[in-house]
Subunit: 301 residues, 2 copies
């Protein structure tokens, strides 16, 4: 089953205690697509400027990523610049330049209208909504969605409106608390379920993940890593692993969702062990399976 994803494709400049990169491939939809593409075909909807390096287009083409929905507009590609401290927690944003993204009006190619799996990567909730409106709504469709603190703060009303139509919502631990004003995470998750989503994955970074779906609860620790080089895109990659696995298995049972959380966890480890999509580019199914096996050993009791 193929997955439609709408989100940002951009050029990141990142500094961490372990190095720095400039104008490298980034963006929520890029990370998502690389991870999901390992499991299912990905139909990418995004926009880039005329400065977007051709080598990245080529890289997308080499993966399982269809580019009928990727528009190239005159102007600059969306770019983000940020810096991480030693704790590798939330980065400090140095600059955000919207470029062509400012005029992005995402358009669903007609051949994608029937797609069963849709993922609204982290962008303005109004843009997320506009894609949702173009999708032929059916009960059988699975709509996933991510967001960030900026939208919770500045477009909360639009976000809450969007959440009514979401099946699987991905959100950070601190953002879950921010959105609900509830310090207890389990209570925060339950409060978010009341906004509409049927299932929530709460991403806890180096502390793992929590899945809440009705009365079902699942929690998994993160994979222990001796070296985290750049955490950028970990959450988008997690979502890519989850949605990709769901689309591949065509299942949405609670057992599949638990396994999907583990696949998401493992995909995220590849995102953070190098800058940009450096390590994700080289990921193979065999590498993922090997790491899943190691993870099972790590958590067995």
């Amino acid at each position: 089953m193929s997955i439609v994803v709408v989100g940002s494709v951009g050029l990141d400049s990142v500094k961490t205690p372990f190095g720095a990169v400039k104008k490298v491939l980034g963006g929520s939809a890029s990370y998502f697509s690389y991870a999901a593409g390992l499991f299912s075909q990905v139909n990418l909807i995004a926009t880039v400027g005329d400065d977007f390096p051709k080598k990245y287009i080529k890289l997308f083409n080499q993966k399982n990523i269809m580019l009928d929905g990727l528009s190239q507009a005159p102007g600059k590609t969306f770019s983000w610049s940020g810096q991480y401290g030693w704790d590798m927690a939330d980065p400090r944003t140095i600059s955000t330049e919207l470029g062509v993204f400012a005029d992005f009006r995402p358009k669903l190619p007609i051949q994608y209208e029937k797609s069963k799996y849709i993922f609204l990567a982290n962008i303005d909730p109004e843009l997320q909504k506009s894609i949702l409106k173009q999708v032929k709504r059916k009960k059988s469709k699975i709509i996933g969605c991510d967001t960030m603190d900026f939208w919770i703060k500045n477009k909360k009303k639009e976000l809450l409106d969007l959440l009514k139509d979401i099946d699987i919502f991905f959100i950070n631990e601190s953002e879950a608390r921010q959105l609900t004003q509830e310090p207890n995470l389990l209570k925060a998750a339950r409060a978010i379920l009341k906004f509409g989503p049927k299932k929530i994955f709460i991403k806890r970074g180096e502390h793992g993940v929590l899945l809440v779906s009705g009365k079902h609860l699942f929690t998994a620790p993160a994979y222990l890593m001796e070296s985290v080089v750049d955490p950028t895109g970990a959450g988008d990659t997690f979502a890519g692993g989850v949605m990709g696995y769901l689309a591949m298995t065509k299942s949405k049972t609670i057992d599949t969702l638990r396994k999907a959380a583990i696949y998401g966890t493992i995909m995220a480890t590849f995102a953070v062990e190098d800058f940009s999509l450096g390590s994700l580019e080289k990921v193979t199914s065999a590498k993922v399976k090997k790491r899943i096996k190691k993870f099972k050993k790590l958590v067995l009791f």
Copy 2:
């Protein structure tokens, strides 16, 4: 197998967003003993003042806790007063009154000298060391030890000296980083192993636990709780569950250690769901087994 524990027995005054208590039973050795006592006989070494309520002595007596090593001295019982914020993270200490604890010179009753399991609960590393000197050292003995940020800051040399003789070291996540000046947790754990301990449990509070032993790694998430009333003593209770389970099973294989981590995790949930030892007092083996079963469901994939 019985366990000898040396540590503090005190009177706590605690304020959390959910209530407040004054001069209730607390102290590292109290929490440890209640938890370990569910699995094995506990031989408590501590001191209290002449103001120590008789009802608490009676409560210890009702449990599996031997009091031959509990001295009562003229003066006030050790007391701690602290306050937790909404995040229920590290409390703000309002006051610490050492009372009779200032002159505490722990003495191992002769009948405990051969004990195979020893736990040095969180007190001054020099006092911990003094008990260790009184124990007849044999390779077969299992020496567990806990500490806190205060001793890492003020008695690091003494602590590092003590660690040479420790089998199982219990430490908080932030303290592990503090002790080693290493932000990566796995690297911090490996650095601590070089100080001497054969195994380390890194306590991560609401984020679970990490066990590192040579090349063996194990990580478990915390049990999700909808309501945490008072986190005081969670770490001591965790250690009590671990050491108690090890003493009960008389095993120290890596599989037993993993299971012990889960028992510690579950015991800690009883510590935090009420003030003081309110919930631990009422814990039964059946309640623990039930919660372990629920935990397995929570983490299965």
